[in-house]
Symmetry: C2
Subunit: 440 residues, 2 copies
């Protein structure tokens, strides 16, 4: 795909109307529908498989709008495209006062389809690319961009968490004012937790950002999320690992979630990411950062601890009614050193699993309890099943997210081989992962 294909992706009647108006992809156009509704924006290309009945415009606010074709439609060219879109602008001129922000690409929808002006699928390789398609970024920060991985986030492992942490630490040492990680959304919550433990109380904001809708779709959130992420990375007063994603279904607020407390709670919605059991760190609205918590690590607090090691001997196990102890025995045999259980309710499993759990606990395997309810906290002193689980040595993990508990265990197992030390690490709040017990 490229600009050589005039009106790329448009077919049939829609194409005819666009051709007779002598417009091309990238032109600024005005479209009048039913002689009353008027839309102005840049004409974007379409994918082969997209609904052929739509014309897509990039509106001045950065959003894409799909206009359904109908008989009463009028298209008028306002100005020519400035082709080629990806013409390098040369080293951009910045005001010396702008903060330095580096963007690290790891893959995912946001990094691979960032070209929201033309809809073409291509990875973002350089800061020039970024600025040519999102020129407003130049007024927010002095940007630098690089690619670390180009992978689907479901393929990431503890090894990639370590590599990301190391790369970020290098940039911190170079003196950047903020880091943005473009990441696939599937496991962005896990990676955010991992970076929270690997880079504790960092001197600068480390902001993971993704997109739920690719930029060829009218409802894409790529641009708005990335702009918020760069703003927070460069300008926020805190040094925290966080995730920047749409807060609600409406367009204008981006929530900045704590890295250890955020979860992808919807498969496709723009507001899929939610802070669980706590409030977001901040919000981004109309170009401003609104700080939302008092317990934040400030920039350059001097408390930075860097430890990028993770073990692959941790495991996350969700309890279900028919679960048999064979599964736990197999995990033991495979040499795993720790298990996070997603128990039921306040932190329970079937009593029939207790003898096998006791065996592996006696063998020095760590077993931590979280709840598959997702919301709320485990409390294993209410019912006898919980008390018996405590008695055999299961560690209750309070209101930690199961996913965060699994990531923290991967990290803890790389810090120590002593089970008592591992239990202590798991119970000590290190990156906001455990909430204060609220009054009943």
């Amino acid at each position: 795909m490229g600009f050589s294909d005039r009106l790329e992706g448009y077919t049939g009647k829609v194409r005819e109307v666009l051709e007779s108006a002598e417009v091309d992809i990238g032109d600024e156009v005005e479209i009048v529908v039913d002689e009353s509704k008027k839309f102005r924006g840049i004409l974007m290309s379409r994918y082969e498989l997209a609904d052929p009945d739509f014309i897509v415009l990039k509106l001045p606010n950065g959003y894409n709008l799909g206009i359904r074709f109908r008989e009463k439609i009028k298209v008028e060219k306002l100005s020519e495209t400035k082709k080629p879109i990806f013409k390098p602008l040369g080293k951009p001129q910045h005001l010396p006062s702008l903060p330095k922000v580096t963007i690290i690409g790891t893959g995912g929808t946001i990094a691979s389809r960032i070209d929201y002006r033309t809809g073409a699928v291509r990875p973002v390789l350089t800061v020039e690319d970024l600025l040519s398609i999102m020129p407003e970024l130049a007024s927010i920060a002095e940007l630098d961009a690089s690619i670390l991985f180009s992978m689907f986030s479901e393929d990431m492992t503890p090894r990639e968490w370590s590599m990301m942490a190391e790369k970020i630490d290098q940039y911190i040492k170079k003196g950047v004012d903020g880091v943005v990680i473009a990441h696939g959304t599937d496991t962005m919550g896990y990676s955010a937790a991992a970076l929270s433990f690997a880079l504790q109380k960092p001197p600068i904001p480390i902001v993971l950002v993704g997109a739920q809708r690719s930029s060829d779709r009218p409802s894409s959130d790529s641009a708005t999320n990335l702009i918020a992420a760069v703003k927070v990375a460069g300008h926020a007063p805190f040094g925290e690992v966080c995730v920047a994603m749409h807060h609600s279904y409406s367009d204008d607020i981006i929530a900045i979630h704590r890295g250890t407390r955020v979860r992808k709670n919807h498969t496709s919605s723009r507001d899929a990411f939610k802070s669980v059991n706590t409030e977001p760190v901040a919000f981004y609205k109309n170009g401003e950062i609104i700080v939302n918590r008092k317990d934040l690590n400030t920039r350059y607090s001097g408390q930075y601890v860097f430890n990028p090691k993770f073990s692959d001997k941790a495991l996350l196990l969700k309890f279900f009614p028919g679960m048999s102890s064979e599964i736990i025995e197999d995990i033991w045999m495979r040499g795993y050193r720790g298990i996070i259980i997603e128990g039921s309710g306040l932190g329970h499993v079937a009593r029939r699993l207790l003898p096998m759990l006791k065996k592996i606990l006696d063998d020095g395997i760590f077993v931590g309890m979280t709840s598959q309810c997702i919301y709320g906290r485990v409390n294993m002193r209410v019912y006898s099943t919980g008390r018996d689980l405590l008695r055999i040595g299961v560690t209750p993990l309070d209101d930690m997210l199961p996913e965060t508990a699994y990531v923290k265990l991967s990290w803890a197992l790389a810090q120590s081989t002593d089970i008592e030390e591992i239990v202590k690490i798991m119970l000590t709040p290190l990156a906001g992962e455990i909430g204060e017990r609220s009054l009943p």
Copy 2:
């Protein structure tokens, strides 16, 4: 514990005040706080470990209220308790027009601590017990009560699902107008799904009900939930398997959730149960049932299908970033016939797991995909990982809850040994478990 212990559970200053007012557990009292706030209700006993600074009253609306002790508190007796509380009332007299509702106890907070008047822990054994403590039930339905199990719900297995289904079918054949299942909340969502597949389009409402707070706590939801459940079982116009639990944090609305679409989403909150990806079947408010859906099976629709068999060869497996294919291999070796995966995002797992998944699929094991996002639906045609999973034979399960998908698979495996037939069963909506695809 019992009435022989005067002012059971009250200690210190609180006990002194109560003693000097010459009141006892079960008396109707008036408490005036700070010379201004007045409360009337029945004085309840306390547990040994409860906060000693509270006096607990059962208010006329059935709720318990905890009043914090302070210096300016006045207690006055209005009337004596009618002891003993559990004095049998004899066979209750009912209006002949009342529907017949049977309550089946299986365990859990609601069945074991139903005595919300005195706070004493005891199982509910007879309808006389129930009516003596919740007399309002006598005006809702002609009640019958029995105990099937007394177990924590985390100990239930597919075997117990079958036994519950068989017991309910017996009552249906006896001609009752509704069934209420008192159930522990930990796995009530799984059991509700199981009964939905075992008793499809039942001629009467089958209502599971639990309590998040035991009845000795001021905030107990036992009474309100049970009253709503009995009302729906006896009077609702639909024949559906559903769950009756508090809708919101406020006291006055009980949501009636569809059995295949409900999830315990909080460890302890009264409004922990949520309908996921859909609306509740109905609401109960101020004694009235408000039907909330048009797609309900009506009472005595004549479409009832009873099939109580479940297999224990199904398994629920949550994907996590470090997952290795060893886990899947072990499941295969253990003879499981089907796996429901809680994938990431739109329904993905790491690509490194594909060769092992292909092996077990080629061996005739069913593999179904759901999402750990909980909300939303899987769509495996958007990214190449999803397309590759489809290509090797993974079955995408749309917006089915992972827990419901696991229960349905347990049921499907008991219906057939033919993999194509099992895939077909999994993809066919049988009890509202798959939602219609909404327009983009």
